[in-house]
């Protein structure tokens, strides 16, 4: 079997269920692959890991991948299991925020570490500066949603499948919150895609390997969509911290299924163009300065999906 290492963007959770299902259900074995899944963490930049040769394929958000590409790391998107974005900004209603127009002067919690690009391009589209003043005050939020619970921030970044529910679990009711999905605001950027280094694609053996990998992974994703509870249980099985709960993972899997639903694994060039346009429109400080070339390929998915 061929060895292949996959670097995840974050810790073991249902966000990556498709890969764990493929592993657990033997889809990778069937494809003659010996896949190692490396969970991520707060101090792991997947792009850096792949640059250092620590992984063959990585799960990454497109803004970070394109930014890395501009830095000279030739990442190529070979598949896009996530069709839509799960990112949103969740605000307390009692702050008076009813629409993005009210953001001025408010304090917003944001993830950094390569996850800040969608937020930054949204703000620049809104014409809000992100360094205080008449724009918005940005907080680097940690890994939890405490800032909104403690009223240290008016809004925090949340994923539909994860942090939003942390707020709810903390006792805040949904009608105390107002949420702005990046999808709805027309600023959605592509999330969890599969990326490899360019040179892999010029090697037929590697291409074959990646093809089998993507095919098996998508099989895993489709299985997970169809059997969300089982998929969540598989993820729990692989969580070596023993700290994840069934309730939370099942709920997360349900939400994830909504994001993967529209995708067969192949990148939709229209989504790509929209993402690039959004990243380019950053006003004085765009995330990327020129439209990238060759940042994606259908070679793998074309072969894999046949």
């Amino acid at each position: 079997a061929d060895d292949l290492t996959l670097q995840l963007k974050w810790v073991t959770q249902a966000q990556f269920a498709g890969y764990y299902v493929a592993l657990e259900k033997g889809f990778y074995d069937e494809a003659d692959l010996n896949v190692t899944i490396k969970p991520g963490g707060p101090d792991i930049a997947p792009t850096q890991v792949i640059a250092g040769g620590g992984a063959d394929v990585t799960v990454e958000w497109m803004p970070a991948a394109l930014a890395a590409r501009e830095k000279g790391l030739p990442l190529v998107n070979i598949a896009q299991p996530f069709k839509s974005s799960g990112m949103m900004l969740s605000c307390r209603k009692d702050t008076g925020i009813t629409s993005p127009d009210d953001f001025g002067g408010k304090t917003l919690g944001v993830w950094f570490f390569g996850n800040e690009f969608p937020f930054l391009s949204w703000m620049s589209q809104l014409g809000l500066s992100t360094d205080g003043g008449d724009g918005v005050t940005v907080l680097k939020q940690g890994f939890n949603v405490d800032p909104i619970l403690n009223k240290q921030a008016d809004c925090v970044s949340t994923m539909t499948y994860n942090e939003y529910w942390q707020i709810i679990d903390a006792g805040v009711t949904p009608d105390e919150l107002i949420t702005f999905k990046y999808e709805d605001q027309g600023v959605a950027t592509l999330e969890d895609g599969l990326y490899v280094l360019e040179d892999k694609l010029s090697d037929a053996a590697e291409v074959d390997k990646l093809t089998r990998f993507v095919a098996a992974s998508m099989k895993g994703w489709k299985y997970a969509e169809a059997n969300p509870d089982e998929a969540a249980d598989i993820v729990l099985e692989y969580d070596e911290t023993g700290a994840q709960t069934e309730k939370h993972q099942r709920r997360m899997m349900g939400e994830i299924a909504k994001l993967t639903a529209g995708s067969n694994g192949a990148l939709d060039p229209a989504d790509y163009e929209r993402t690039v346009a959004s990243l380019l429109s950053g006003g004085s400080d765009p995330v990327i300065t020129k439209a990238p070339e060759g940042a994606w390929t259908h070679v793998i998915t074309d072969a894999a999906l046949n």
Binding site: V11, T12, K38, P39, G40, G41, P42, D43, I44, A45, Q48, V49, A51, G52, G53, G54, G142, F143, N144, V145, D146, L149, N150, Q166, D169, A170, G171, T173, D239, E240, T241, G242, A243, Q244, T245, H248
Partner: protein, 288 residues
């Protein structure tokens, strides 16, 4: 033994303080919760509510100890939900890092004591190395060690742990190896003793008390290093991973119990070192 009563007293005082602090820390959230279900709380109810919140800002002692009990005694030690299991993982990396750090620290100390160039070149940089935040280096350590083909994340963890551990050992051992006074050195000189004899018969034995002090500080530093290293190394297993997940999923009680587990582990390790120290010093006739 003489310190049992004082320690118990201090523990009691700290617990009391802790309980008292729980009320104001959690009151705001408790009131907010109650308001959602249209209840106004009396003082007694409020205090009771702050003691048993699901997501407290400051968990109360009994919550933490219940969690500690639940995740140690009630769980099989092989279960990934057992703190004993995670403590064991952390302990393993800590001991590797400790061994690595102590060896490095002692080797550098010997070099520094025997070579002026080493002293003047290395010592300032050893100090500087400790001003570099390890978390900034951690990703690079992981990437570099995986690109030179070291698989598994135990090794980078141990390296990070050794990075924090070697410095106190270095400083202590330099002091210790230099502790013989001029007369003790002169004595060996009058015997025409070789450099090796000076090391084995004088410098090393007289550094032993310093060595143990450093080992006690070093093992605690190694533990902290391992836990810090458990975040960037993928937060897979170990007490550090528990802390991270506890943080992300808004479970302060999990953080606190992992913190306590770490502190207890450190206490045990330091006590072990003390024991080793008193046995060794007694055998050397230096315990009075």
């Amino acid at each position: 033994m003489r310190s049992v009563l004082p320690v118990l007293t201090v523990i009691a005082a700290l617990l009391a303080l802790w309980y008292i602090a729980v009320v104001p820390m959690n009151a705001a959230r408790a009131v907010e919760q109650a308001a959602r279900s249209d209840v106004t709380l009396g003082t007694a109810d409020l205090i009771r509510a702050t003691m048993d919140m699901e997501r407290p800002r400051l968990p109360s002692p009994h919550q933490v100890f219940a969690e500690l009990w639940d995740s140690t005694v009630e769980k099989k030690v092989t279960s990934k939900r057992s703190l004993v299991f995670h403590g064991w993982i952390t302990l393993g990396a800590t001991l590797w890092g400790f061994a690595l750090g102590v060896s490095l620290g002692i080797a550098l100390a010997v070099g520094i004591v025997y070579s002026r160039v080493m002293e003047m070149s290395v010592m300032p940089w050893a100090v500087i190395s400790q001003t570099i935040p390890i978390v900034a280096l951690a990703p690079m350590i992981i990437v570099l060690s995986s690109s030179v083909g070291i698989e598994g994340r135990g090794v980078p963890k141990a390296i990070i742990s050794a990075y924090l551990c070697f410095f106190p050992v270095l400083v202590g051992m330099v002091k210790g190896l230099r502790s013989p006074d001029q007369m003790q050195l002169d004595l060996l000189k009058t015997y025409g003793a070789s450099g090796a004899a000076v090391f084995w018969k004088l410098r090393l034995p007289s550094s032993v008390p310093y060595l143990f002090t450093s080992l006690k500080i070093g093992i605690a530093a190694a533990l902290v290093g391992t836990i810090v290293g458990e975040l960037p190394t993928g937060a897979i297993r170990g007490l550090g991973a528990r802390i991270l997940i506890g943080d992300q999923f808004g479970n302060p009680i999990m953080i606190w119990s992992a913190l306590f587990a770490a502190a207890i582990l450190a206490g045990a390790l330091v006590t072990l070192m003390s024991l080793l120290q008193s046995v060794t010093l007694k055998r050397m006739g230096m315990a009075r």
